[in-house]
């Protein structure tokens, strides 16, 4: 067609998104932006890399398991099943809260965003506190220095807890940012942290499942 326009949209109609400085403008411009933000993509790349790292850990777990028939080795207590599963299940619900927060922010609803983030934060902190206490408790019965099983077990669990901790710091930072109102920059941040948490929750589920598979 002869009146072909590069990129499909004439310049005056393209949203200058970074100009949004309050909830209303954010809602309007975010609505007209038809794509995830660059920040979202950046976080997606980070998440892809982290998921691959955990994939490697899990691959190593099964490689070691299949090169040693005694798994877990005699003398090492088998991981507990019920409590971890319940708590991970609770943590997983924060994916919902985070996503709702992201959607609220996209509609420019500052207070809803803050409230949902606080809810998520409460659950996440609760989980981490329990997880760390449990981690230290287990160290009394068996240590990473006992055997390859202990090494990979505690490395996987520890790495997962670290990711939960980083996620909590991110949410705290978001809330601190949102004290000074909503901007497009902060909307992008909320959306990015949301997918980070989706990934972390998924990883926590998978890691727990992998570690429990030793009991089968």
């Amino acid at each position: 067609m002869s009146d072909y326009i590069a990129g499909g949209v004439p310049e005056p109609l393209v949203p200058r998104t970074t100009e949004a400085r309050n909830g209303r403008e954010v809602a309007a411009l975010a609505g007209r932006r038809r794509e995830p933000s660059i920040g979202w993509w950046g976080m997606a790349m980070l998440v892809a890399s982290e998921v691959t790292l955990f994939g490697t850990f899990i691959g190593s777990y099964y490689y070691l398991r299949f090169s040693d028939h005694r798994w877990p080795p005699p003398g090492t207590p088998e991981p507990r099943v019920v409590v971890p599963l319940i708590l991970v299940g609770i943590l997983a619900t924060t994916s919902l809260t985070m996503q709702l927060a992201a959607n609220a922010a996209k509609r420019g609803r500052l207070w809803a965003t803050r409230a949902l983030l606080v809810c998520a934060l409460a659950v996440q902190v609760g989980y981490l506190v329990w997880a760390v206490r449990d981690f230290l408790g287990q160290l009394h019965q068996s240590t990473p220095q006992d055997s390859a099983y202990g090494s990979i077990y505690y490395t996987l669990l520890g790495a997962d807890h670290v990711h939960v901790g980083v996620g909590i710091l991110l949410v705290v930072w978001l809330l601190w940012k949102l004290l000074r109102g909503l901007t497009m920059y902060r909307l992008n941040a909320v959306q990015s942290v949301a997918i980070y948490w989706h990934a972390v929750n998924l990883l926590t589920l998978v890691v727990t499942g992998v570690l429990l598979s030793a009991t089968i």
């Binding site: 005056p12 190593s60 070691l64 040693d68 990473p144 920059y185």
Partner: protein, 637 residues
């Protein structure tokens, strides 16, 4: 176009002058330290990697001198082990990757995509400073006389605390992880830049092949590095915390190291050469004045070679005694990973033939690259024959093979690219005759250096021996190799000398000396800070040859349309079809990247000194730097 009518009161000169003001960098050193300009960062990468290339080259020359004839003792065995380990680490992690992705990619990607900067300019600066810090970190070990000495693939148990006490391998583990952070950031940055920052209208089928290559290499880095990171973390824990990942007595496995290492290590090979393919696919059209034949196949080949490359790792482990039924899976993938390369080779050759080839220096280097790459590739195909691989692996035959690939197929295009884009970067033209001479010296030198390695390898000379007995007939070949290494050095010195002299004495080159195909040739040389005064219209993968579009851009400049001069503005498009999604404000230069890199260096130094608590406290420094980084939002700038 009526739809992009200019704002009433703006002439071209006002617009350009406003862009200048908007984008101009801080003066002096401060400008370089705090820069987020992809061109400046590219140049920083370029100079740094050249220095490290010199270091790696010096190591190689010492190695060759030690091996010039039987039973030499130029260096002690322990020094020799450190030299070949550092040579491998340097050339792979501190020369080729940062030179291709860091220098060429940073400088050229935004220019080819019609963008004004990378997707994450400050993260881009961070990548550089972290890379610099990791380079200093690992070379400190050499000056402290405790350099890594277990080979670049560092097999356990030779590299565990029992057989290699001291800090050498800790330097290796931490240095690799530190450098990996830089590479991962660069990779993520490139992927998002290529997917989101293309000029509006540059749908995937209109993207230059150079960008396909860097997309492939970036995905390779992003998904391969975690495996190496995990591996080095395990080893560091085994050495310093007392875990048993690789301790057979406690249920560990030594082959776990090899699997994890090569899951990274083989894609790594393609990460090294695919950007070089990209450079070749830019130089060939420019000097044949013809599009690359079979564009879609070449594009997909660049992606496929990396993708299939993830499935061949175990062919580095055929001699470890795996069951045949599992080995064949990797042999089959090894067989087919060849095909994308044959596709590209024949596409290049047909472009040479059907086009109007002008054999200037850059094209000479590409022709040499094709020859070396085919030679190295054909010996590579032989490794799919499991029994033959088991015969020659760990011998100089393999050394010959991968030097033909890494020097021939990765470094030749880098040299060609240096000549090709020299006019764009400096605005000066290099001297042609010395350029061509430098090519022939390097070409003869490298073949004399690497070809005899095939022969000694078949004659049974193994890798990583610091000396060899006389009476096995290895003397003449080794002598030839050493002479070849000296000749190659002369050629490289001539090449760099030519560029340095041309920088001061060269004739002005003008914006487009080659009638190049891609967008970087549509703008002045050297490019202005804002790259493009008018966001260019793109309707094919060779936009500089779409005359009508370039005329339209010039008209738009006169009308001050499509200029986006209200700030550090940059169009963002949809990932596949390049529909225009938004206009964003890009960050200005910032001191935080270098401060963050310093904080991270402190963490790694403390880890090296086993000051665990201190390292944890130093992490708070990292957090503070990140807070400062995100303190000021773009719209507040």
């Amino acid at each position: 176009m009526a739809t992009t009518a200019p704002p009433p009161s703006a002439s071209a000169d006002e617009v350009l002058e406003r862009l200048e003001r908007m984008w101009q960098a801080r003066p002096g050193v401060l400008g370089w330290v705090t820069t987020t300009d992809h061109k400046r960062i590219g140049l920083l990468y370029f100079w740094t990697t050249l220095v490290l290339f010199a270091a790696g080259g010096a190591e190689a020359l010492t190695i060759r001198t030690q091996l010039i004839q039987p039973n030499q003792s130029v260096v002690s065995p322990s020094t020799f082990d450190e030299l070949f380990t550092m040579h491998g680490l340097t050339m792979i992690f501190f020369f080729i990757i940062p030179m291709t992705t860091g220098a060429f990619g940073n400088y050229l990607l935004p220019l080819m995509l019609g963008a004004r900067d990378m997707a994450f300019p400050r993260m881009n600066a961070l990548s550089y400073w972290v890379f610099l810090a990791s380079g200093i970190f690992i070379y400190t070990s050499l000056f402290l006389g405790m350099a890594p000495n277990a080979g670049w693939f560092n097999y356990v148990p030779l590299s565990n605390a029992q057989f290699d006490p001291g800090h050498a391998i800790d330097f290796y583990c931490l240095g690799i992880i530190f450098n990996g952070i830089s590479s991962s950031l660069t990779a993520a940055n490139f992927i998002v830049t290529i997917l989101k920052m293309r000029a509006p209208g540059m749908s995937f089928n209109r993207m230059p092949l150079f960008c396909f290559a860097f997309l492939a290499a970036s995905f390779g880095l992003l998904f391969a590095l975690p495996s190496l990171t995990a591996d080095t973390i395990f080893l560091f824990l085994d050495r310093n915390v007392g875990t048993h990942f690789f301790d057979v007595a406690k249920g560990g496995s030594v082959l776990l190291w090899q699997h994890l290492f090569w899951i990274f290590g083989h894609p790594e090979v393609y990460i090294l050469i695919v950007p070089a393919f990209g450079i070749a696919t830019e130089i060939i059209p420019a000097f044949t004045q013809r599009r690359v034949v079979a564009f879609p196949l070449v594009a997909v080949a660049e992606l496929l070679v990396v993708f299939i490359g993830f499935g061949v790792w175990a062919h580095h482990m055929f001699a470890t005694g795996m069951p045949t039924v599992t080995v064949v899976f990797f042999a089959a993938a090894t067989a087919i990973v060849v095909i994308p390369s044959t596709i590209q080779v024949f596409a290049w050759c047909m472009t040479f033939i059907t086009g109007n080839a002008r054999f200037k220096t850059p094209l000479l280097f590409i022709a040499g690259f094709i020859f070396m790459f085919v030679a190295g590739g054909l010996t590579g195909i032989m490794f799919l024959a499991v029994p033959f691989d088991q015969q020659v692996t760990d011998t100089y035959f393999v050394v010959a093979h991968f030097h033909y690939i890494i020097f021939g197929a990765a470094v030749f295009p880098i040299f060609g690219g240096m000549y090709f884009w020299f006019p764009k970067v400096t605005g000066k033209m290099y001297f042609e005759l010395p350029g061509q001479i430098s090519f022939w010296i390097i070409f003869v030198g490298t073949n004399l250096l690497f070809f005899p390695m095939h022969i000694v390898g078949l004659e049974g000379m193994t890798r990583r021996v610091y000396t060899y007995p006389s009476g096995l007939g290895w003397g003449p070949s080794n002598l030839a190799e050493t002479i070849g290494s000296y000749i190659t050095t002369v050629g490289i010195v001539l090449l760099l000398g030519n560029l340095v002299v041309s920088w001061f004495r060269g004739l002005p080159a003008g914006p487009d000396p080659w009638h190049g195909a891609t967008l970087e040739w549509t703008i002045p040389s050297p490019p202005p800070e804002y790259n493009f005064a008018v966001i260019p219209k793109v309707s094919s993968a060779y936009p500089n040859w779409d005359y009508a579009d370039r005329v339209e851009d010039r008209r738009k400049l006169a009308e001050a349309a499509m200029v986006l001069e209200q700030g550090h503005e940059q169009p963002v498009t949809s990932p596949i079809d390049g529909w225009w999604a938004e206009i964003v404000e890009m960050p200005h230069d910032s001191p935080w990247p270098i401060l963050l890199a310093l904080a991270m260096s402190l963490v790694f130094v403390l880890l090296l000194l086993h000051l665990w608590v201190g390292a944890v406290f130093a992490l708070s420094g990292v957090a503070l730097a990140l807070l400062g980084w995100h303190g000021k939002e773009p719209q507040e700038a």
